[in-house]
Symmetry: C2
Subunit: 335 residues, 2 copies
DNA sequence: TGATAAAATGTTAACGTTAACAAAAAATGA
DNA sequence: TCATTTTTTGTTAACGTTAACATTTTATCA
């Protein structure tokens, strides 16, 4: 491999001068710089980032950590996250992706290895990880899940408001008996969406019926089972808010399996607007959550943090959007 | 940060001895080693991989490159790939993920930065990248797409055989007019699946009708449009083989939009068995492609290659599996 | 023109680790 | 017991880069 010393020899300068030219330092003469750059490109020089990192005490690596890669994270969520981050991270940074649950201890998470860390957090259990990162003084940004600490940058969608809007929409459509299939209990998002659901009911002075809330864990099967439970009720709800699209699809299938129809017998709304929501039959009305945008913003911001640019924002809520398709029946004309 | 020299001082030995203890070299006395290890863990020592990499000329990084992260790669494919690789890569390696199309030039892809590279290849255009890696003498393994060079390790699913089986199944069900919606033309997988389709027809001495082949690019919308084109034909096919599940879902929706039914009017099979294939209505009959398994195998093998273990295999075909659900109607009783 | 300031380049050390070689300590054997 | 071998430890250099400081060259101005 060609090093700056090789270039130095050919250019008849010291290796420091080469270093300066390559990093376009201001204290170098134009012609010298030009000559060095030319030789470098001729030799196809590429810097050794290990050496650079060693001396500069920087890793040139951004870590993207998800709660889990393999458990409970939907494909579209993972893909959107990576797409968003990938688009924002410039080529001179390594992008390192792992699940927090891949680690038994966090000893290898330190400033030497990571210039900055993005946590796409889906569970309150991530807290010990976040705390560790904080303690090691690695710049961090937490996405997707609200955290109390106001000195940590935090970007998330307003899930509570999003689900409130969705349930309000059901109410506007004339529904009075509205069920919910909840997400993985330990995930903050599941709690927020439940709160939005409750808020809408309370706002409209609707009674809260315990048996209309059933558990789920964000996967399709739990949606199927949740809906079955609701259908077996003496008086099933006429509309069900599912805490994500995957469960909504499972729920739709449960409805069909019971010989009923969506939306004629049961109306359904989902949450996420994952890629296939528009291709279900009928098209799924859902709350669009801007995962990719959140990830993109997060990556941009961690880069600013890492490069020492002043970043002011501390908590950013990205708006959700209600996407109306065909899975909700209008009982009254209002919606 | 604590270094081996700090440990050395406390243990009253030289830093080399510490290095040896930490890397459990055989030429160190038991008690000495034990003492050093104790101090190290007490101080919460964690090695500086930049220094290590610099002196050992190793990067401790495995690169996972996909044809593209943002264009034409489905969410489930991306997610499965990452899951498989992530599960196999041990904690002491960095996992670096990027799209080949994120690079304008490959100068930063060199042995200093990558101990080994996994290419999850979806397009023949990846060849220049593969060639570059080869030229730099970085251990490489190519997944998912067949390559001619027999000295490159290559793991892939037998798409041609998989699609042949799928189409044969349609034929067994009594279908005679069978259409295909093709995948992105430049992707080898699209070609192989087309070949499987043709092989099945030829095996059964069916005529090949040009107008039954329509283009697509693996996304849902192209599946929708492709099906529309087929439906507008004077005599539409009774069954359509879609080159992936996403397009199959688009196609199903096109059928519904025309007031027809799946599978009563048109039978559909997909390819991939992506997560939601079982939750479409009706459930999608499809060819299961073991993306996660391929990725896992690939990662295991690149690790063996990198650590110098002898690896014999050169080309591995992983079997696909026909998953029969409800999207195909049996015209005859044979299936 | 020559002293002085400014700009450009060079020298040397440092980052934290491993490796080659050197030295010391321990074990062996006559 | 002491020479010899073997085992264990230490010393020094190296990896490729940047940074602090030193030196040389160039520009400025009286």
């Amino acid at each position: 491999m060609v090093t700056i010393k090789d270039i130095a020899k050919l250019a008849n300068v010291s290796h420091t001068t080469v270093s300066r030219a390559l990093n376009n330092s201001p204290l170098i003469k134009g012609p010298t710089k030009k000559k060095i750059l030319e030789i470098a490109s001729q030799l196809n020089y590429s810097p050794n980032y290990n050496a650079k990192s060693l001396v500069m005490q920087k890793s040139h690596t951004i870590g993207l950590f998800l709660t889990s890669i393999s458990n409970g994270t939907s494909a579209s969520f993972l893909a959107d996250t990576i797409k968003g981050v990938n688009a924002a991270i410039s080529q001179e940074y390594n992008l390192f992706i792992r699940g927090i649950d891949d680690y038994e201890d966090y000893s290898s998470i330190n400033p030497q290895r990571f210039d900055g860390i993005i946590v796409m957090s889906q569970s309150i259990q991530d807290h010990s990880f976040i705390y560790h990162v904080l303690q090691k003084k690695i710049p961090i940004i937490v996405l997707n899940r609200e955290i109390e600490e106001d000195y940590i940058m935090n970007i998330l969608s307003d899930d509570k408001e999003g689900s409130r809007q969705a349930v309000q929409y059901l109410i506007d459509c004339g529904h009075k008996d509205i069920g919910i299939i909840e997400g993985t209990p330990s995930f903050k998002s599941a709690q927020m969406r439940k709160e939005g659901y409750l808020t809408a009911l309370i706002d409209n002075h609707f009674p809260i019926q315990q048996e209309y809330s059933v558990n789920g864990n964000y996967d399709m099967e739990s949606g199927y089972k949740g809906m079955e439970k609701l259908l077996l009720l003496g008086k099933p709800p006429t509309a069900v808010f599912c805490s994500n699209d995957d469960m909504a699809i499972g729920a739709m299938n449960a409805v069909y399996a019971h010989g009923l129809s969506v939306p004629d017998d049961i109306s359904i709304v989902g949450f996420d607007d994952s890629g296939f929501a528009q291709y279900t039959t009928p098209g799924l009305t859902t709350v669009k959550r801007p995962v990719e945008q959140i990830s993109y913003l997060g990556a941009k911001n961690i880069l600013s943090l890492v490069t020492g640019k002043e970043v002011t924002l501390e908590k950013v809520y990205v708006n959700t959007e209600l996407i109306i398709r065909k899975s909700v029946k209008s009982i009254e004309k209002r919606c």
